[in-house]
Every structure is written in C-alpha cells, then in structure tokens.
C-alpha cells in the first residue's frame, strides 16, 4: 500500500531548544560550513526553529516554529525542475530530492515558499576523524546539488524493508525521523497520513491544526498545532 508520510508539530509543546536541528545534522551528514560560509548564507539547516517576537517590552511574547520541508502534495518545486530531480514519490508521498538527477539550476529553491531547500556551494569537507560519525545510510551530497529534509527517508525505507521481511505493514510510530526521535517534549509526531488510525492523522484533524502558508495551495503534509494562547 502506498504511504503518505506526514508530520504534526505541536507548537504548544515546542520549547525551541534546537535538539531537532542538531539531531538532523547528526543523522543526515549535513556538513558544517564554518564561519565565513555561514556569514555568506551557506549554512544548511534542513530543519530550523523560527522565532518571532510579538509586542513590545514589557508586554512582549515570543513564539517558536520548527520549519522543515513540508513535503507538499502540490509542491511548487516539482514542476519547475527540468530534470525530475525534485520529484513526487508515489510510493511514500514524499517530495523526493534525487541528488544524482540534480544539475543545480536552483529553480526549485526559488519556487519553494518555505525556503527549506539548501544548495551545496562547495564539496563538503570533514576534518578527520569527524568523518567516522557519517551515517552510511545517507548520501554525502557533492558540490552543485540541492538538498533538503527527506523526512529521514533512510529510516522509512529501513522500516519498510523490515516490515516486508516480516510480512506486515509498518506500525504507527515505528518510523521516527531524527528530529522527532530527539524532541524531548515530543512536540513532533510522525506517521502515515494514509492510515486514518495513526496519531498523526488524528492530529491533522485537530481543531488546533493549521498548515503553513496554507493559502498558497501547496497542500503541505506538515500540520502545525497552535497553542491556545498563541492561537
């Protein structure tokens, strides 16, 4: 059965600690670009925690919002890619980024309203022995390709293969992307939207739920659950 992997972000639980950001770096072989390149906007954070202030001192408040690839059903990045590098996966419902097809037009990143796509401006370099940490299940992207959050597709694939081997469906909660796994407050929930019983499907229906930039018609697969006070 085809899946529709999706996520729910409970903004009422999120404390903006940034564990998801580092966890993502650890899982997905995201290179550290260093001060100079970071200052030139080459830092890569597949997931980022946006913060926005409201009001003025002393009546000031702040809200956090983790933003990763929204894995849109109607993704603006897909039609513009001339080589199908940005491509909708029917099997998983994911918005796939196929590194080996990418020739680096960067058109997808321009089309993406969420600015969650990052470009490899140089060949990544790891000061040894930091390279021993690299995850063998994830590609090392070379210079000139676009990369972005994959919902840890390597974990999804691994779970699917195990499930097939055991002749069963993937269980709800069996797959956890690195960010979801690391989140201490369990603000991130991951699962299969094609399965109406899954927790993420339930949360997607929540009255607190909304999609990011919904009116652009991108049909994101990430639901944001507003906190009451932040609503």
């Amino acid at each position: 059965m085809a899946h529709r992997w999706g996520m729910a972000v409970d903004l009422d639980r999120c404390t903006g600690c940034g564990a998801c950001v580092t966890a993502c770096h650890a899982e997905n072989n995201i290179p550290t670009v260093g001060e100079l390149q970071a200052s030139r906007g080459r830092a890569m954070h597949w997931i980022r925690v946006e913060r926005y202030f409201e009001g003025e001192f002393p009546e000031v408040s702040m809200k956090y919002r983790p933003v990763m690839c929204q894995q849109c059903d109607a993704a603006p990045c897909e039609p513009v890619c001339p080589t199908y590098a940005s491509h909708h996966s029917e099997e998983t419902g994911l918005n796939a980024q196929i590194y080996n097809r990418c020739i680096g037009t960067r058109y997808c990143a321009n089309a993406c309203p969420y600015n969650v796509r990052f470009f490899d401006f140089f060949n990544p370099v790891w000061d040894k022995p930091l390279h021993l940490q690299l995850n063998p299940d994830v590609s090392m992207r070379e210079v000139g390709v676009m990369e972005k959050c994959t919902f840890c597709v390597q974990r999804i694939t691994a779970a699917t293969i195990t499930a097939e081997a055991e002749k069963r469906e993937v269980k709800d909660g069996e797959v956890k992307p690195a960010c979801v796994q690391s989140c201490p407050s369990k603000a991130l929930v991951f699962g299969d939207l094609a399965d109406p019983e899954s927790e993420v499907s339930r949360l997607a229906e929540s009255p607190r739920g909304s999609k990011l930039l919904e009116d652009l018609g991108t049909a994101p697969k990430v639901t944001y659950l507003q906190g009451v006070e932040h609503a």
Binding site: T32, A43, E50, R51, F53, V125, D127, L132, P184
Partner: protein
Amino acid sequence: MDRRTFIKLTAITGTSATLASCGVPEHQLIRFVPDEELVPGIAEWKPSVCPLCASGCGLNVRVMMADVDITKDGQAGVVRMGVAKKLEGQESHPISQGGLCPRGQAAIQVTYHPDRLAQPIKRTGNRGAGTFEPISWDAAIAEVVGKLDALATAGNQKALAVVTGGRRRVLLDQFASKFGAGAPVTYELFSDDLLRRANQMSFGFAQLPTFDLSNANYVIGFGADFLGTWNAPVAHTAAYGRMRRGRPGVRGAFVQVEGRMSPTGASADEWVAANPGTEGVLALGIAHVILREKLRPADGGRPGALIDGWSAGLPAYAPQQVSTVTGVSAKRIERLAREFAERSPAVAIVGGVPLAHTNGLFTALAVNALNHLAGAVGQKGGVSFTPQLSRSTSPAGGSLVQLAAASPQVLILDETNPVFSAPKAWKVRETFQAVPFIVSFASFIDETSVLADLILPDHSFLEGWIDAAPESGSAQAVISVAGPAMKPLFQTRAAGDVILQVAGKLQKPVDLGAQTYDAYVKAALAPLGDDAWTAAQKQSGWWGELPKGVAVAPTPAEAKPAAARFVPPTFDGDAAQFPFHFLPYASAAFLDGSTAHLPWLQEMPDPITSAMWSSWVELNPKTAERLGIGLGDLVEVASSAGSLRAPAFINPGLAPDLIAMPVGQGHATYTRYASGRGVNPVELLAPVTHAETGTLAWAATRVKVTRAGEPDGKLVLFSARGELRENPREGETR
C-alpha cells in the same frame, strides 16, 4: 603574490581537489585483522551516558562497522571496527526519557574531534605557551607518582590540590583525603550551591529540586532557564510537554518572571519582568495575598519559619510595596496570587539569574516558602528531591580564591576550566602559573589544561566506563552507568583507571577499593543489591526504590534559624558611571563554554538571535535607539573589571536597564573551532560573591555601553536580516 596568498592558494587547491587522496592507492593500504566482527551495514545499539552536563541523560548509541585509520606498532593502516554513529535519548531512562538536548546530540563530536588529544603529552616550552611533546603512558604515570611520593616523603601531602568540575569528584575526593590532602576544589561559573544551601535550610536536602511538571496545573518560574540550560533540562522539557498537552482537557499554565526573556521564558503564557534581584519580593508578595485572602491554609512550615514576618502574614510584602520594589503592578500580583493558589497543583521554580544577585539566598528561601504555602512540597505536581545514594564525601573544599593561599606543589585538574570561566580578579591563571607541577586529564587543550606540565587524555565517554548520579529530574533514585560503546580510537586511557593506577603505584599505596574504574563503579552500586550491576549494564544505569538505609537522610532543621528579610541587592560599579545591569547567561549551545569546541553547536542557530559562530551583546530596542546602536553595530561594554567589544543584537525581550551576553565564546585556546572566536563576558565580571557560600554572584556587575563602530561582519545570523516579527508591518496603517 605574497606568502599568505600563496599558502591560502595551495591550501585551497588542496581542499578542493586533492584532499580525498590518501597518498597510497586504496589497494596498497595495509588492513589489520579486525578483533570484532559486526554485520556490515547493520546498526547495533549500545547504552551510554551523556557527559556534557551533570544531569546524566541515558543514551542509546548507534554503532556500525566502519574502516578506521589506525597506527599499529608504528604501522599505519586501516581496520574494520564498530564506531558510534548517532546518540539518541533512551526511552526507559528516567532523565532523558527518549529525548536529548542539542548538546547531547552533538556530544558524539567529542569522540571524533580532530583536535582531541590522542596520547599523553608533556610540556616543553614555557608554561602556557602550548608547546607539548608526546610521552609514553608509563613515563607519564611514573612522573605523577614520583611527584606525589616526593610530597609524601616530605610529609607535605597538604600541598596536593585537586580542582574538579565533574563526575569523578567522589573518586578524586576519596583519593585526596586518603592521600592526606584537602578536599577537592569544585568550581562552576553557574554554580547552584546557593540553591542547595537554601534547600538544605528549607527542606533539609542540600541538592537541586525535582519538579513534577507533568502533573502541575500552574507553574511560576523565577528566572530559571529550566527548559534550556538549567538543572536537568531534558527531564524538565519532557515533563513540560506532558504538562501542556499530555492530559486530555487539562493544559498547565506557565508564567515566567525574569528580566531577559530566556528560551524558557519564550515558551511561557505570561512573561513578567521584575527588577533585578527583587524576584524574592514578588514571591512573598504572592504569598502575602494568599495569606491575606486565606486562599490556602497559612502553613509555611519549615521554609516559612525562615522568612521574617511570615507568621504575621508578611505585612512588609503588601502588593503596593511589592509593586514599587519589583515594578510589577499590584493588580497583576494579586491575580497571579489567586491563579497560583486556585489552579493547584501549582509549583514555583527558582534558579539561575535571581540567585546570582547578592541577595540570592533570600530569593531562594522566599520561593521555597511560597512552594510550601502552595502545598507543593512532596506532593503530586509539586517539588520533591530525588533520593540520593549516600557516598561518603567530605564537604566541598575551599574556593579557588583560597587556593593561592595554600600554595600547592602539585595540582590535579579534571573536567574544569576555571581560567576561562572565573573572574579575572580571582587570578586563577596566576595561581596555577605558580604551581610547580600540574597534571590534567583533559581531552582538549583549553585555557586551563594549556598550563599543565602533563596531560593524560581521558577516554571519550563512548570509549570507557561512564557514570553519573543525577541530583534531580526524577522522582525515583537514578544512577547512570554504562560501559564502553566502542573500542578506543587512540592511545588514551580512562582517567578513572589512571587515578586508581597512580594510587596503587605510590610508595604508600592509597587503597580506593578497586584496581579499575569499572570495578570501582560496581563497588559503588553494591548497596543496591546484586542485580543492580547487571541491570545497569543492559540499560544505561539503575533506577528504582533505594533499599533502606542507603539513601541520604534529610538534615535536621536549625534550632533558631536567622529570619531572612529582603535586602536590596548590591552591585559592583556605581549607577551613575555604569548605568546598566550586566547579565551573562548560559548560552543554549555552550552552557558555560565547555561545549564551544563542537562544530555542530557552533553552527546551531541560537534560539533567540539565530546567531552562529558568534558572540553578541543584547540591548533593548529603546536603549539601542537612545545610544544610536543598530543591529550588528560594534559596541563596547565596560565594567569596573574590564571592557570588551562585540556586535549588538536588538532584543525586544530584554529590560531597558539590562545588557545581556551569552557565555561560551571568547576562548583563547580551545581547538580549531572555538579558539579566538568572539569575546568572553566573564572578563567583565567583578568578584562579587555570596556571603553564605562564597560562590560568585555573576549577575551583580554594572556596565556602561557605547557604540564603538560600524558592523564588522562578526555577527553571523542564520536569519540574515535579523527580522524579529512574523509580520514586519505589525501595527502599520494605511
């Protein structure tokens, strides 16, 4: 083309084109026979414990097969071995509960850090010059033993000093005392000793409190960044999540009182800015209203008895007076009081900044009393104390300041960097400079270990035995223990083993009850019964009910406690010359700077400013406007103790009379990633200490700020435009 260009050129040509080449072609590499056979491409999960802070989170380590370059008896080659790939919080562990903080996620880079010391080294150049040469383990240990024996023969055992920040305090303490030296000196910049003291007075436990947030309906935080950096952040955050959305139909409310909106305060429903050092007054103001309106039985108990005028209903803390002192409106105080009393279970949390003022003890006692009044002590949704396994330790040794007076001959340093994190006026560097022989177990050359004569690099936490005794964060007793998750990559040795080895090799051997560190840890677990050890090895530690008689018992109340009353905090520097209060805070990435060497944390955007690889000065928008300072402008911050320059960040969540700076950057020497980056706010701190504990009052310094120049590009923001608002046109009309 000048030399620099040429070097740069060749170097870059290297990075871009020829780095992957190993000199020798792949098929000519020597491959050693592996001594462990793992299934290639399949992950194994092994337990471990996070070493980066005292809260002792349990880890699952993902171990996979990899080719590792090693040197075996002088021969360079590769060998297939299991190496750690990823750290994840352990679901069953009561502290981590499946999650981790960003620092915990990055902890793995400690093991693989390119500048990690791979073998023992001996100082060759002048002290502090940072020139070392390799030395064999036997020679190194022999040298340490020799120095100690020299002291012993001279009957001068007192001249051995130990400075430690860390997990091996108990071992080092036993070693020192049995050797005949004084107790180890422990130093942390953001020390919680004052709170421990207060808790001992109020509750009889000299330890950090544990909060049952999961079941709390109302939480007031007094300055504690308990979701970010303070105490046991992971445990707190997990509980916070359940408090908010874990109980159907119930959503716990959260109010935070502080002068600078911390990442924790940013999550609060209501954020209250009180004047610096008046949080205790606000707490008692709330208590006053509760007592006056009889919202709860007027039982202050032992904590209440410590507060002046409690039995009289705290007449001195009527909302009007409190309002004038704290700057919080009387109406708000009354509302908070009612909410706090009515929406029970409610609990108040104090820590961090409020306790870093000179009147910190009063503030802590006030909040403790408030908790007792709210019936939060030992109750569901309240505050309690994690049962501790009692281990014979001598009371904390003297402070760093007194160290100089003792004029030690031999100094042992373990997991501490006071040269970086102690105020200049304490002259720690000068003191250490004067010590004839310093040995350190550091894995990295930092401002303190660079002064050492001998560095005996410890294993990484993944390579050796690691244990921690979480002081808080769990209702039941926890002892985190784990064995090696992978084989050592380099010629390092577990510091614990080395200490035990030295102890055994002395002329008058010191018996610490074990030859190896794992045996030592096992012995420590013995009181918990036989299965504790086996259990501990499967999961990353032991937790549960402590058997009778092995737990730390509460200390009896003092007969006639001195009544605590509010004394306005004193600050260094006069208000006219230094108009701002200076607020250094533990940065989300670096705590007190001990994790600044990890590249992932350097590149992690700060939760508030989104800054990477930088340090900065935070100003309130109005203050900045008044001083003509804009985002990124270079500003000079000066106190009586010193001055520094850093780029400015405009923070709407900061009181106009505060200047805030994150601690962590500004390392002179701390690996390629942290050295010479940013500035260290500790250099501005005046040596103001708490009368009661001698700990540093790190929020008691006043500063002045001036614009020092155009942006120098040193403030690297991930949100490049520094946008603060989701809708920049907020309030715009047309």
